[in-house]
């Protein structure tokens, strides 16, 4: 399926960019005229993925986080969040709810939130090379003709 629109953005892995990242994806997704709830879900999922890249991928050292988002005629958005950090040894384990390497104040819910707030989440990772998380969500348009 060919995307009808696409955008890319990259930024330093500093935590103040977490709000920038979710805001920029939400602004792009707004072209599909999603509901407020759908937009909130998307922002939450993006925030989780970007936080993972900053906290786990780069372990709070400085790197670059890359986001590419695509919009489709069907009303679907696909958002890929990529880092060139340490990668994940065991993706299945990393995706288990409550598993975290981030210390006591991290809830370990990042992937669980992405999965429950999006329609599809896929993860590709190579230890030592980096991680790419792709979120897909159907944003049905609010106004639809019924004929």
């Amino acid at each position: 399926m060919k995307a009808m629109n696409e955008m890319s953005v990259s930024f330093l892995s500093v935590s103040s960019n977490e709000s920038f990242a979710r805001a920029v994806v939400a602004a792009f997704a707004s072209q599909l005229d999603p509901t407020i709830d759908q937009l909130a879900d998307l922002k939450t999922a993006v925030s989780e993925a970007v936080t993972n890249a900053i906290v786990h991928g780069y372990r709070e050292t400085l790197g670059t986080v890359y986001i590419t988002a695509k919009l489709y005629e069907s009303g679907k958005i696909s958002v890929k969040i990529r880092d060139k950090g340490v990668g994940i040894e065991d993706i299945e384990k990393a995706m288990e709810p409550l598993f975290t390497t981030g210390g006591e104040e991290r809830a370990g819910l990042g992937f669980a939130v992405m999965q429950s707030f999006c329609d599809k989440v896929s993860v590709r990772s190579t230890p030592g090379k980096g991680t790419a998380v792709t979120l897909q969500k159907n944003l049905l348009r609010r106004v639809r003709s019924h004929d």
């Binding site: 935590s15 709830d37 906290v55 104040e105």
Partner: protein, 110 residues
């Protein structure tokens, strides 16, 4: 981003202002804990009236404050969460550990 603290009788209310994510959670945590550890209130009310967005960092924040309050057998209430925040709290199972309330903010309206 900020926190306004108000102590009334045995209740410490922390009115959080702004989005809660990994970046902002630390300052909120430090602000609440420095006061809570000093006065050890029986009840900590986290007021979400002015929190338009939260991710799982907020769940960690709530869980951490719940654990702190447990040290002196205090309880935690979450006040006026938005639907987005409430959905996340439901997903985390935190609603089994803390009370959830809506209504008047404990803040005085001066």
């Amino acid at each position: 981003m900020g926190v306004r603290l108000l102590l009334r009788e045995e209740t410490l209310t922390a009115r959080i202002i702004g989005e809660i994510d990994h970046h902002t959670a630390r300052a909120v945590r430090e602000e609440i804990d420095s006061t809570a550890q000093k006065i050890k209130p029986l009840h900590l009310c986290l007021d979400f009236t002015e929190v338009p967005f939260m991710d799982s960092s907020g769940v960690g924040l709530i869980l951490g404050r719940y654990r702190l309050m447990q040290m002196w057998h205090g309880r935690v209430t979450l006040l006026n969460m938005s639907p987005q925040v409430e959905k996340l709290v439901g997903l985390s199972g935190l609603d089994r550990l803390v009370s959830i309330e809506r209504g008047e903010s404990n803040e005085s309206h001066e």
